[in-house]
Symmetry: C2
Subunit: 459 residues, 2 copies
């Protein structure tokens, strides 16, 4: 189908008033794509919901007319997760952006799906609370989108990924019904866990219209940086710190390649060696002791540098090396496409996986950066593909695929925190085999007409 | 159906050798029940699996013959979860009790489902690792059973419940296929999370035949006890400790009623007031600081006592009040049935829920104890029902139901960590409403002939 019937269009107009609906998607090219390098796809219409009832009514209409619906937060997904399905509608949740109720005594908040991550934390800060995962796209990403992709981030090591924070969801189902999954208890074991099934389902099993999150108390933070001669030493430091029973707020590894690009971009002179960024969260005396333990572990592994941030400004400086990676790439490799890998491997395979990835990139002459949430075994690799160079895209994809297959063979995953979307469908099958058929059965049971973001995750 | 066909029996014999099958279930009355007070149900046969292939073959046979199968670990469930289905088979996993591979560098372990919780931790201890939840039945409960019911325990506040530790499962499906869900990465967002769907599914979506758990480093522990004049003060202390950013290893509340019974039973003279038991986990300097913070919070709330355990023996003494509750009940109220409540409410409702429960019990003259994992909002209430007293069972059940409905109205759950089983089916509907129909759709999609523990969770 590549056009909408008049009856369907009238149905849309009945649900969405003037200003809440566009039948001219060509005017909104930003809605054709996400932050991946995948081909944009124009939807046939774009609707902006302001209430849950509109979402449910839209799904009922689309279900009867068999029109695909792709829910969209801020479109910061990296695997095509929110690229419109062909012949379908985009449902934007960006106007459902209200924090509805902060419940500090419960360590909970109730909110709409279009609230931006950083904005939520700004509103929570006066209560000394926060929603912890810490995605890099937090200045833009919506909480609804984070739930769709089970987003992780810097602080997932200590506090868990998005999945570990969601306790209740209002969900519009494919048939237009609107119901609640979960309760406001922090712990439950009552029936199949539908909340957990929704988290990471990429808008394919229902559309989230309201959310209750559990929150954490804002901790004291200490930030430290260590540099190592080898990736092995850095990875071993991660292992040894975690072995002491410390649960760090963050443990990020930045490979020498990242420091190299950031040095050129910013004019810095950091030593270009594997670098570990650490956060320790808790009460001051506890974090002081954790820093000492971490310092001993790093020094016993031959760390060439160990810097402890003395204040917030210095902590930001230490983090800058991590946060400028993408900016450096864009400045030094203008117009290059970034193939954005998101593998995770068992911790014992971390260093070997980084070596393999570097060698795979070098063998094809592709510039690449490697960094990641080392405490979770998560490695992001950016393969930089030059524009207009014949064969470069294919070479980049080959490197990218080699790295993913290495991770899978090591017992790891193709996606630690970005989801599957359009980009990783073939790898989902490689990772999960026949279990993908179980996912399909669940999809068919809850969306028999296959209208919810139907072209994502599996064929 | 109340007998098995000869053909089916031959099928069983082909799968399970002599000693692995009993067609005389009357010889094994322990397999007719769990640890609830529900009516025992005799199965038609009992099979003891020693390998995953037998489990899969049994399910294929039962699926073709439409014979129900109830998987069983140690039978420590409390809601009838592992009571055999009428006309069905019991599949015992207790012989699949091998720890297959300890992977200290990955913080992971691979094991069979019949491994007992405490035994697993005994084998992990030399590696300075542990599987954290800490169920009270840990000396008997199997890890497979913990997964079936998403068991919690003392340490769930810091480390999460069973759900948060399971990363990979081998599962036998209703049709006899055998496949893997999940990977060995500590973090993943690749497709619908089938591992999470299995955890807490009470043997209704498949039978777990092999498990990979993520582990925690064994921490240093400090144990402290505080006593308060009121439940409100104790609950407020829980809130204030958690508000500092401390994540305690345990935060257990014991109501005065528990202390009262334990005092009589053990001849102790503890003050009979609301009592908080606390564990602080981490490096010594950190836990010292956490203890100071907790002490200040407790004292500012008028705590009448604050005891810090100076050694392991004293820590055990402090915990004894909690651990002797059930023994005291059994000694003081011999032959009484215990209605074992397992609600959780949002933290701000904790004190009020305890008051409501006490008053509900007193109004009907039912002896009762209240205690629980306060940091999670979890309250266990034991309503003690005398034997052979006309009307007592009905009165006990009325009290029990009133408490559950209070918790549900407060936004809570009927089951924090015991599951639904047979005992709480009506409350599942009260808690989740139409969402139960979504659970049913998933059940039908994965077990179309309804052979997997078919009478549990919902009608």
């Amino acid at each position: 189908m590549n056009q909408l019937s008049l009856e369907f269009i009238q149905g849309l107009k009945n649900i969405f008033p003037e200003g809440g609906l566009s039948l001219k998607p060509e005017e909104f090219p930003a809605f054709w794509l996400d932050r991946s390098t995948l081909k944009p796809q124009a939807p046939l219409a774009i609707a902006w919901a302001e209430r849950a009832g509109q979402v449910a009514a839209l799904l009922k209409l689309c279900n009867e007319a068999r029109v695909p619906v792709t829910a969209r937060g801020a479109g910061t997904s990296l695997e095509g997760n929110s690229i419109p399905s062909e012949g379908g509608i985009v449902l934007s949740l960006e106007r459902m952006n209200q924090v509805l109720e902060i419940m500090p005594q419960d360590f909970e908040v109730r909110l709409q799906p279009g609230v931006v991550y950083d904005e939520l934390n700004r509103q929570l800060a006066p209560h000394r609370l926060f929603f912890a995962p810490g995605p890099s796209s937090g200045d833009t990403a919506t909480v609804g989108g984070m739930i769709g992709n089970n987003a992780g981030g810097l602080n997932a090591l200590r506090y868990g990924v998005t999945r570990n924070h969601v306790i209740r969801l209002q969900v519009a189902l494919a048939d237009g019904s609107l119901l609640w999954y979960g309760t406001q208890a922090l712990k439950t074991s009552a029936g199949f866990d539908l909340v957990q099934l929704m988290v990471g389902s990429e808008g394919m099993l229902g559309i989230v219209t309201e959310i209750v999150l559990r929150l954490q108390a804002l901790p004291q933070r200490r930030t430290a940086l260590a540099q190592f001669k080898t990736v092995e030493a850095a990875a071993q430091a991660v292992f040894e710190i975690m072995s002491t029973g410390i649960v760090p707020g963050a443990l990020e590894l930045i490979d020498a390649s990242c420091i190299h690009y950031v040095n050129i971009y910013k004019g810095w002179e950091w030593e270009e060696t594997p670098t570990l960024l650490m956060e320790f969260h808790g009460a001051p005396a506890g974090t002081d002791s954790e820093v000492s333990t971490a310092r001993r572990a790093c020094e016993s592994l031959g760390a060439t540098k160990f810097l402890l941030a003395e204040n917030e400004a210095m902590a930001e400086q230490l983090w800058a090396g991590r946060k400028e990676i993408t900016n450096a790439e864009k400045a030094l490799y203008p117009n290059h496409a970034i193939l954005n890998g998101d593998i995770a491997v068992p911790l014992s395979k971390y260093a070997a996986t980084i070596h393999f990835a570097k060698e795979a990139g070098e063998a094809k002459g592709m510039p690449m950066t490697l960094f990641g949430h080392a405490g979770d075994g998560n490695i992001h690799c950016h393969v930089l593909v030059p524009p207009n160079v014949p064969g470069a895209q294919a070479k980049g994809e080959e490197v990218y695929s080699q790295i993913i297959r290495y991770a899978l063979a090591a017992g790891g995953t193709v996606s630690a925190e970005h989801g599957i979307g359009l980009a990783k469908k073939e790898f989902l099958v490689e990772e999960h085999g026949e279990a993908v058929e179980v996912m399909r059965k669940i999809k068919r049971a809850l969306d028999p007409n296959n209208i919810l973001n139907p072209d994502k995750m599996f064929h």
